[in-house]
């Protein structure tokens, strides 16, 4: 039971005073908040509302409904439910985000961070610099590197001793996933390296004295301590990957067929190649739902840490 107090009841020597434990609303705060508020309204809230509205219309980029759009209710969403390409796009998006983003980047980044921890400083710096180079390269450059790497006669097909194989055409989703993992691993490595440095050495030493093996200490001591860092890293990867467009568009344009058309790419195809802005925006809204669902999973996983913080 928490008593509700009126701040005006509190007096000191008969003079009303503000309570320090209850923040009193000040009208002047509106002034200080207004720049941020205006920006959020203009750049986020209003476009979201507009996008929501467009998703319920037949608006076209070009065509009879480009200027004379009309409200079409749930027809875009009804079409989406019955669109097999949309559902395959959802599956590919999940594979791309979970496979190449969350799993591959976290595992590889963590492995590099662990190796870096045990390596000589000079070696760690060299490897770290090389890995970070992939991250700082513009996405379009990464796309062209992997395009050249994955096509017939490219380095990858030479490496597997099948120079005639056109891996970008035969296993396109795998190649774009590998390219994405290659690019994003450095980010994970940086975050997780910082996390590793925060693991108290004495805890690890105590476990070592108890006879725990390296893998036991890693699994039962280091990872649990780093749980929140790993989760935040995965969350940031998800945010960065789920809306990725450039990499896939430059490498495959969503093809062959629709085999790499993840939701942002499929949205672009519908809006800018088929001129169907209404349906494209409806797909964008579906992407928000997918993102929100993944966010809920993270929030649930982070709940223990949040409770501790409170």
């Amino acid at each position: 039971m928490t008593a509700v107090h009126d701040a005006s009841e509190l007096q000191f020597d008969g003079i009303p005073v503000d309570r320090a434990d209850i923040k009193k609303f000040k009208w002047s705060s509106i002034l200080w908040l207004s720049p941020a508020g205006i920006l959020v309204m203009a750049l986020f809230v209003l476009p979201t509302i507009y996008a929501l509205y467009i998703g319920f219309t037949n608006m076209q980029l070009l065509g009879p409904f480009a200027q004379h759009l009309s409200f079409t209710g749930l027809s875009n969403f009804d079409r989406m439910i019955h669109d097999p390409v949309f559902w395959s796009s959802v599956k590919m998006t999940l594979v791309f985000v979970i496979g190449s983003g969350i799993i591959a980047q976290t595992v590889l980044g963590f492995a590099l961070a662990l190796l870096g921890q045990r390596a000589k400083i000079s070696l760690r710096a060299t490897v770290g610099s090389i890995v970070i180079l992939a991250w700082v390269l513009p996405e379009i450059t990464v796309a062209f590197i992997w395009y050249a790497f994955g096509q017939a006669g490219g380095t990858l097909s030479e490496l597997i001793a099948r120079p005639g194989d056109d891996l970008l055409a035969t296993v396109p989703l795998l190649i774009v996933c590998v390219a994405n993992a290659w690019r994003g691993t450095a980010f994970s490595m940086l975050i997780l390296s910082a996390g590793l440095r925060n693991v108290p050495a004495e805890v690890d030493e105590a476990a070592q004295l108890e006879g725990a093996s390296y893998w036991q200490r890693l699994w039962r001591v280091t990872i649990p301590i780093m749980r929140s860092t790993i989760m935040v890293n995965m969350l940031l990867i998800t945010i960065g990957t789920i809306s990725d467009f450039t990499l896939i568009w430059a490498m495959t344009q969503g093809g062959p067929g629709n085999e790499t058309a993840i939701l942002p790419v499929y949205m672009y195809i519908q809006a800018f190649q088929f001129n169907d802005l209404g349906y494209g925006t409806a797909i964008a809204l579906a992407l928000i739902v997918v993102g929100a669902l993944l966010s809920i999973i993270y929030v649930r996983q982070l709940r223990p840490e949040l409770k501790k913080a409170q």
């Binding site: 070009l62 480009a66 395009y147 056109d166 062959p256 672009y268 800018f272 925006t281 966010s295």
Partner: protein
Amino acid sequence: MRFNRIRVTLTASCVIAAAVAVAGGGAASASNSKKGISVLYSYNYVQDTDALANAWWKSVENQWKTANPSTPLTPVGVGGTDIDEMNKAAILFRSPSTTPCVIQMPTTYVGEFASSGYLASLNSYVSGSSAPAFWTGMPKAVQEMSTIGGKVYAVNLGNTDGGIVYNKLMLEKAGIKMPWVPKTWADIIAAAKAVHKAEPKVYALWAETGVASGPTGILQGVGNLIFGSTNPQMFDSKTGKWVVDSPGLAATLKFYQTVAKDGLGAPVSQLLNADSLAEPPALMQKGKLAISFGANWFPSTWLPGSAEPWPAASKDVGAAPMPTENGQAPGIASTIGGWAYAISATCTNKASAFKFITLLESPANQLSMATESGFIPPDTSVATSKAFDTSSLFQLQFSRYAAIGTPFPNNANFTVYTRAINTATEDFAINPNTETVSSALSTMKSLITQQLGSNSVETIKSSG
């Protein structure tokens, strides 16, 4: 819950950024003043190099300034492909304040812009005795490329048509006698097989495919087969439906199947590359490609100072028209498409805008545009001039193919058909051993019906 909201907001904001991009907006750069005019053009895709494009537009700007000092001209160049220029234009046209007066556009987009209500009818400028000479000098087929329902929405500035270009040395090595002029599609396949047998490591035949190549890929590839088949139709204007199955279309896809299955084509990622349209002339110059479904612009890339100079091209390269499927009348077929100038419906200075177009279409400007872009000039007097004939190889030859050229349907949904047919043909390149003609036809049908509904397609059962 605050944490939850932050996370959802973070994720959503990324996604919303994409949604907002879809939902509209866009930089405003081309605007019309009451006094002046603006022109939106591609500096990256029409002429052979950006430098040529920039110099050409600077030159016409100076010509305009000299002749019309009181009417300011604002040129707005756009980079990227034809599709990029059209996407940019589509966004600019959403607001009259950002809409340019004059636009340089591919003829395949005229229908989409016209159906949006974005283009002004030019009938009053091109009808009657006051019609300008450049217009009256155009063949009727070229005039009609941008005419919809009797309304002229754009005037052609240059055309591309299709044919076959081949490396004589490579064909001779395969035992094929020169000059090689195939009479049927079977002749093309036979020659490609002979080359493949003689030199298994080279690409025997380049038949353009892939969704990345867009409508130009059809112009330079499968369209030539469809228009030479026994059912030379993409769109049935009588029923208003897209043809997704016919004996002619099946034969067309069968051709692609044979090329892929017999290993006659290029590697799939090279074919499906967004730059694949520009690959054949370079590959042919390097002796890696023997026969290509080509276009009249190919030889311009071999001129001195161009991308792939090939001084010996005049004796080492041959050109032939695309034959019809079985050699049936008229014996040869070709697509034809090009670029055109149009005036926006919201332009407040249409008379000046058309005057500017007349300047752009002067014989000298037509000729320089054509030679720098690998176009056939739209005006017959320029297309048959000695200056044009000597500007590059095979120019008059391709000008003759243009006379029988079939333009693409002027329909707002052509982009949907484009992706469908390009997907159907690329499926053979990806799965050469498993893809069948019937599955390619069914892919095509499902891609169009998913987008436009089942009433938008039709099957033609007999050759026609």
